[in-house]
Symmetry: C2
Subunit: 410 residues, 2 copies
């Protein structure tokens, strides 16, 4: 057993998470979209907490916080995000930030620990204004032009206006200092039911799957729903429905054990009750951590589109609008998490890929990165009922702090 | 052959239709939504034309025009509408109004003709603000409360504001004077390809099919598109697609020879690319002039919903949101149109139901009603390319005027 003074304080972790839950409370969760007042309050709360962990930091020009430590020796970067999806859960984001803060509080002041944990809150991981804007800004991938163009998907408010309302306009953005960090560690709720159904406590993330996004368009002939005989119709909506069903029938034979695919949005054009749709569109995504599987499925998709066009009354076109790249998690960090789980969670851990995207995939582009999952009750996420048992939250904190200690010890 | 002085003047009809096309021109069609400036100009144009036909009239409090005649004897009501769908054709509506005007010009001043044709333009047949508001108002089915609540589907402008902008606020509405008219006749473009493909000139409408409208809802479970395994998903969008395909497979065996069905709108909830839809909804309609066929199909729909709920991962609910009632056209009027077609269109006529709704179905609730179709090139309607050959427009006018003469003669 490690020295108990290097142990996470479970009650303190729960108290901090509950303090953040009081900002933007919605039922048992929170409504804390990026650059909302409760989001700003949460960022201010964290800045004011940093000194407890020997850290100093401020909100930067894109809403990121990086708490840095003057202690000499290796630095491990740790964190997650503080904003939420709309009307969603209290742990998606804050859990990883508070674990990082707790690790810094436990380890940074102890002279037996070599180096320190530095704490980050990445802005807009939930994508209200863009895609991983905060962590992408930190790794140097966000231009001023992208910020100029960004708007809140829900309200349409420009990001520039939002930054001004947050009193952040004109602040500089923090970017990574090459060589400063030996790695990045992020904790997150699983958002699936793998850990819960296996009675496990810790997910050791092996990779973050890539997301490939497609726009599949169907072109038929718009016509009057009363006067056009069934035999001569070119109904783009029906062609779309057939295509969805065909995907469901044909994808399993070509997919990997953990491949998932989703049609998240369907639009008929013009979308009126008395008009046969002349156009239809579906947003379709595939996730996997194996690009070879994606290549196979993408080829199948193109084959199916060609077949549907040849045999049916409508033309089908598949356009790739986002190419994913799976992020592999560092094996040494995986080993550290697994070792900590053996000691503090009775070895109830599982190596598993993350089906969801996380800031860690951005950090992984510039330094060794790792992730740790705790169980989600019922696998629920992106909903205000999202939750994790207090005991699992505490176990996760203990494993996280010990993982940080092991990574710093090299 | 009838006396040539009782003949429609084809050139005059084409000139009038082209005059109306100059108001709100869009490409080769018009954009003349209800209560737009070009709609108001078209109404003013008609009021100013009425005296040529021995008629007087004004725009009433809902945008209807009724041109009445002082000539003694039986009165036949004839007309259609002047507004258009958005960015649509030049003949859908105006054709029937100008034919009516032409019939009045030819017949009302002739002492050998017993009685007169009175001309109507019904407002908002195209449903920008409601459903057949003008003709329903005339037959006494529209309350002031319905007008209070009506809004333009495209712009959201209230009907009260629109009426005020049209300087029609406070005007009274004309309603049917019991016993005044012996019947109603309306001409319209076919909006389908039956006449064109049969090289026919005139459709003798036997009935206007009823429209039954349903909301079909699918309830599954909203979840994360990356972390939720395929095996445990309850994807409401996929359930909807399967249902659409099943309708397409199972309806033909239970439908009549002219039944048509259409899924015009599909919505996934929440409709985001990375969320498995927990809800989905489709607007589905069936049209037929035989209620027994509809009853059979409606029962099939409910059976299919129950089967899908029992066998699948989602629940399916079918809700009827509009009950249609087919309007039967008067047999005597059908005979008059057919006789006129024999004389003036070489008998190239066909008795056929109307798959589209028309103001005639409202007038049919209070008096004998009939309709005459002219061919639509390529069957196209509700699009700016909608058109009818000049020769067919002229033949239609001649048959229409002669049909009016025959109906007045009893």
């Amino acid at each position: 057993m490690p020295d108990t003074k290097l142990h996470a304080d479970g009650a303190r972790v729960l108290a901090d998470l509950n303090a953040l839950r009081t900002l933007g409370t919605y039922k048992t969760g929170v409504h804390k979209p990026t650059f909302s007042e409760p989001h700003r309050q949460s960022l201010d709360w964290l800045v004011q907490k940093l000194p407890e962990a020997g850290l100093t930091g401020a909100i930067d020009g894109i809403g990121n916080i990086l708490g840095t430590c003057a202690k000499p020796g290796p630095k491990l970067l740790a964190g997650s995000h503080l904003e939420s999806q709309n009307y969603a859960g209290w742990l998606d984001g804050p859990l990883g930030v508070i674990y990082a803060l707790e690790a810094a509080r436990v380890l940074n002041g102890d002279p037996s620990v070599k180096g320190a944990v530095e704490v980050a809150a990445w802005c807009d991981e939930e994508g209200h204004f863009g895609s991983f804007l905060g962590s992408r800004s930190y790794v140097g991938q966000v231009t001023e032009a992208e910020i100029d163009a960004a708007r809140d998907r829900t309200s349409g408010r420009t990001m520039r206006d939002a930054l001004a309302d947050m009193r952040l306009a004109g602040r500089s953005r923090i970017t990574a200092e090459p060589g400063r960090h030996i790695g990045y560690l992020e904790a997150h709720i699983e958002q699936g039911d793998t850990l819960e159904s296996g009675k496990l406590a810790i997910g050791v993330v092996t990779s973050i799957v890539g997301i490939w996004q497609y726009r599949i368009s169907f072109t038929g002939e718009q016509n009057h729903a009363g006067t056009t005989r069934m035999a001569v119709r070119k109904d783009a909506g029906l062609a779309l429905a057939k295509f969805c069903v065909a995907i469901n029938e044909r994808f399993p034979a070509s997919s990997g054990p953990r491949t998932v695919w989703t049609t998240g949005r369907i639009t008929l054009d013009p979308g009126a009750p008395s008009i046969i749709p002349g156009g239809a569109e579906m947003l379709f995504q595939i996730r996997d951590d194996n690009p070879a599987v994606i290549a196979r499925l993408e080829e199948l998709l193109q084959t199916m589109a060609a077949e549907a066009t040849a045999k049916g009354t409508c033309t089908v076109a598949v356009e790739k609008i986002r190419t994913g790249a799976p992020a592999m998690m560092n094996p040494g960090i995986q080993d550290a998490i697994e070792a900590a789980s053996k000691m503090l969670a009775d070895g109830r851990s599982l190596r598993m890929p993350s089906g969801a995207g996380h800031d860690a995939q951005m950090l992984a582009t510039i330094m060794p990165a790792g992730m740790l999952f705790v169980p989600s009750i019922g696998g629920v996420s992106h909903h205000w009922t999202e939750n994790t048992a207090d005991a699992d939250i505490i176990t996760g904190a203990q494993v996280f702090v010990d993982s940080c200690r092991r990574i710093l010890a090299g």
